[in-house]
C-alpha cells in the first residue's frame, strides 16, 4: 500500500496543519479561559484599600474567607441543596428513562420532547413562571390559599430553597433522562433475547442488564449536575427582586456572594479568592465522583 508510506517531510507538514487548525480555538481558549484564571489567582492576592488603592496582601483574602460566616452560610446552603436536589432529579430521570425504554408505547416520542423542552427555557423565564405560579400574590398557591383558607407560602425563607429545587429539577430532568435513555438504547438486543431465553423477569432484566448499563452515564450526569448546582445564581438573583421576604440575602449562594463582592462592593480580590476556592472545591468533588465511578466499573 503506497498510502502508508509518508515521507518525513510530509509528516512534518501535516503536523503543522493540525496545529494550525487548532490554533483559532486554542488561542481564544487561552484568552477567555487560561489568562482569566491566572489573572484571578493574581488579583486574589490583592485588596482594595481606602488608602493606597490596590495593595498586595498575600494570602490574606483566603485566610479571611475561611473565617467568613457569610461564605459558609452560602456554601453550606448549596452543598445541602445539591445533596438533596441532584439525587431526586437523577432518580426521576432514571425512572423516566426506564419507563420510556420499556414501554416503547407510541407517544413516548411526544413524551421525550415534552420532558426535554424545559431545558430550552431560559432561567429568567422559568424563574418568572414558577415565581408567579408559586407566589401567593397572583399565583396558583395564592388561589389555593384563598380557597382553603390556608397561608402556605412557597417563598417564605424556610421554603425558598425547595421552590428553587422545583425550578431546577423542572429544567434539567429531561436533559438527564435523554442521556440515560441513549445509554439504554445502546444495550445490544441479544442481551435481552438471552435473558428472555433464561426466563428472566422484567425486574431481573432491569437490575442485571439495564442498571449496570447506566453506570457510565450516571457518573457523567452526577458530575455535570454538581457543577451546575454549585453555581446556583440565576434563580436566587432573579427571585430576590420578584418576591419580597423570601430570605434571599446577598450571600445566599457562593456565586451570588462573589457577584455582590465584585460588582457592588468592588472587592474583586476577595471575590476572586472565593471563586477560585469554589472552583477548586468543585473540581475535587467532580474528581472524586469520577474516581468512584471508575472504581465501580472495575469492580463489576
Amino acid at each position: 500500500m503506497t498510502l502508508q508510506t509518508t515521507s518525513p517531510l510530509r509528516r512534518k507538514r501535516r503536523s503543522t496543519t493540525g496545529l494550525l487548525f487548532l490554533a483559532p480555538f486554542g488561542l481564544l481558549f487561552i484568552f477567555v479561559f487560561i489568562i482569566p484564571i491566572l489573572y484571578s489567582a493574581y488579583i486574589s492576592l490583592f485588596q482594595n484599600k481606602l488608602i493606597g488603592g490596590q495593595s498586595f496582601v498575600g494570602l490574606d483574602n483566603y485566610a479571611r474567607l475561611f473565617k467568613d460566616p457569610q461564605f459558609y452560610d452560602g456554601a453550606i446552603r448549596v452543598v445541602v441543596f445539591t445533596a438533596i436536589q441532584v439525587p431526586i432529579m437523577l432518580l426521576c430521570a432514571i425512572l423516566l428513562a426506564l419507563a420510556v425504554d420499556s414501554l416503547r408505547l407510541h407517544g413516548t416520542r411526544f413524551f421525550r420532547i415534552v420532558v426535554f423542552l424545559p431545558y430550552a427555557v431560559p432561567a429568567i423565564v422559568s424563574t418568572l413562571m414558577w415565581g408567579f405560579m408559586l407566589g401567593i400574590r397572583y399565583g396558583l398557591i395564592g388561589n389555593l390559599n384563598d380557597a382553603l383558607g390556608t397561608r402556605f407560602d412557597p417563598f417564605a425563607p424556610e421554603t425558598t430553597m425547595a421552590s428553587i429545587g422545583i425550578m431546577v429539577t423542572w429544567g434539567f430532568t429531561g436533559y438527564n433522562m435523554l442521556i440515560f435513555y441513549a445509554a439504554l438504547r445502546a444495550i445490544p438486543r441479544e442481551l435481552y433475547e438471552a435473558a428472555a431465553i433464561d426466563g428472566a423477569t422484567e425486574m431481573q432484566v432491569v437490575r442485571n442488564i439495564k442498571l449496570p448499563a447506566l453506570r457510565g452515564s450516571l457518573t457523567v450526569t452526577v458530575i455535570f449536575s454538581i457543577i451546575g448546582t454549585f453555581q446556583l445564581f440565576n434563580e436566587p438573583n432573579i427571585l430576590s427582586s420578584l418576591v419580597s421576604n423570601s430570605g434571599i440575602t446577598s450571600y445566599y449562594t457562593p456565586n451570588l456572594y462573589a457577584y455582590t463582592l465584585a460588582f457592588t462592593g468592588s472587592q474583586q480580590g476577595y471575590a476572586a479568592a472565593l471563586a477560585l476556592v469554589m472552583a477548586a472545591f468543585t473540581i475535587v468533588i467532580a474528581y472524586i465522583v469520577q474516581i468512584r465511578g471508575m472504581k465501580n466499573a472495575f469492580d463489576k
Binding site: 477567555v32 429568567i124 435523554l178 472552583a279
Partner: protein
C-alpha cells in the same frame, strides 16, 4: 409507572400552559382572575403590541441583539469546534494530549471564576459594554470541541483523506469539502446547543453590559420585571413581562421541534462515548 410518567409530563407542561394562558390576559385580568383560567378579555394581540411599543419599542432592539449574539456566536463557536475537533482526531501534533486534558478540565470550572477576571480584563481593553464582551466568550465551546473530536474520529475515514491528499487537495479544502459534510449531524447538534446556551445566557451579559441598547432578551425582561416589583409607584406591566417571556421561548421551542432528530442523536453520542 405510567402514572408517574403522566404526572411528570404534567409537571413539565404546567408552566408552559400557564404562560400561554396568562399571555392572553390584560394586566387587570392577570391580577384578578384564577391563574389557569382565561381572563375576561382575550388580550394576546394587545399584549404583543404592548411589548413591542413599551419604552419606544426597545424590545425589538433586544430581540435583534439576541439574534445577533446567537447567530454570530453559534456559527463561530461551531466552526472553531469543528476545525479543532477534526484536527485533534485526524492530525498528530505536539501537545495534543495535554491540550485535550486542559480543555476537558475547563468544563468543570464555574462560570463565575472566569466571569470576574474576564470582566476586569475586558474592562481594561475597553470591551465591556460592547457586543464583543458577550460575543468573544461565546466563541469557545469546550464541550462542542469534545463532541466534534469524538465524532470526526469515527465519521471521517482516513483513507478518504489520504486519497484527497494524493489528488493534491490542500488540507483546508479537505476539511471544508470532504470532512465537514460528513460531520453534519454533530455540527447541527453543536449549533443547536450553542444556540440555546447563548440565547439563554444571563450571567455574562448581566455583568458585561450597562447600556440597555446592547441588552439581550434575558436581561431586558428582568429589567422590566424589576420595574413593576421594586418601585412601589412603578407601572405594573406583568402582562408585558409574561408576553415577552412567551415571545422569548417560542423560537427555541420551534428550533428544538424541527431539529429533534439531531439533538437526540447528538446527546446519545456524548452519553455512549463516555
Amino acid at each position: 409507572m405510567t402514572f408517574f410518567v403522566g404526572l411528570f409530563a404534567l409537571y413539565c407542561l404546567l408552566p408552559m400552559v400557564w404562560l400561554l394562558i396568562n399571555a392572553t390576559k390584560s394586566q387587570t385580568d392577570f391580577v384578578s382572575t384564577f391563574g389557569l383560567a382565561f381572563g375576561g378579555e382575550f388580550a394576546l394581540w394587545d399584549n404583543i403590541v404592548g411589548v413591542f411599543t413599551f419604552q419606544d419599542g426597545i424590545f425589538a432592539r433586544w430581540l435583534l441583539n439576541t439574534v445577533m449574539y446567537v447567530v454570530v456566536g453559534a456559527l463561530v463557536s461551531t466552526f472553531l469546534a469543528a476545525l479543532g475537533g477534526y484536527a485533534l482526531a485526524k492530525h498528530d501534533f505536539f501537545g495534543k494530549k495535554a491540550f485535550l486534558l486542559v480543555v476537558l478540565g475547563s468544563i468543570s470550572v464555574p462560570g463565575i471564576a472566569l466571569a470576574i477576571p474576564q470582566f476586569l480584563l475586558f474592562a481594561q481593553m475597553g470591551l465591556t459594554n460592547t457586543p464583543w464582551a458577550v460575543l468573544i466568550p461565546s466563541f469557545i465551546n469546550p464541550f462542542g470541541l469534545y463532541l466534534m473530536w469524538v465524532y470526526s474520529s469515527d465519521a471521517v475515514p482516513n483513507a478518504l483523506i489520504e486519497a484527497a491528499r494524493i489528488d493534491g487537495a490542500k488540507e483546508f479544502r479537505i476539511f471544508w469539502q470532504i470532512a465537514l459534510p460528513m460531520l453534519a449531524p454533530a455540527t447541527v447538534t453543536v449549533l443547536l446547543f450553542s444556540f440555546v446556551s447563548i440565547w439563554n445566557n444571563y450571567f455574562l451579559p448581566l455583568i458585561m453590559l450597562k447600556d440597555p441598547a446592547w441588552y439581550p432578551l434575558t436581561i431586558g425582561i428582568n429589567q422590566w420585571n424589576k420595574l413593576g416589583s421594586t418601585a412601589g409607584n412603578g407601572e405594573l406591566i406583568q402582562n408585558l413581562v409574561i408576553t415577552a417571556s412567551l415571545i422569548t421561548i417560542v423560537p427555541l421551542i420551534i428550533a428544538f421541534l424541527c431539529l429533534q432528530r439531531y439533538w437526540q442523536s447528538g446527546l446519545a453520542l456524548g452519553a455512549v462515548k463516555d
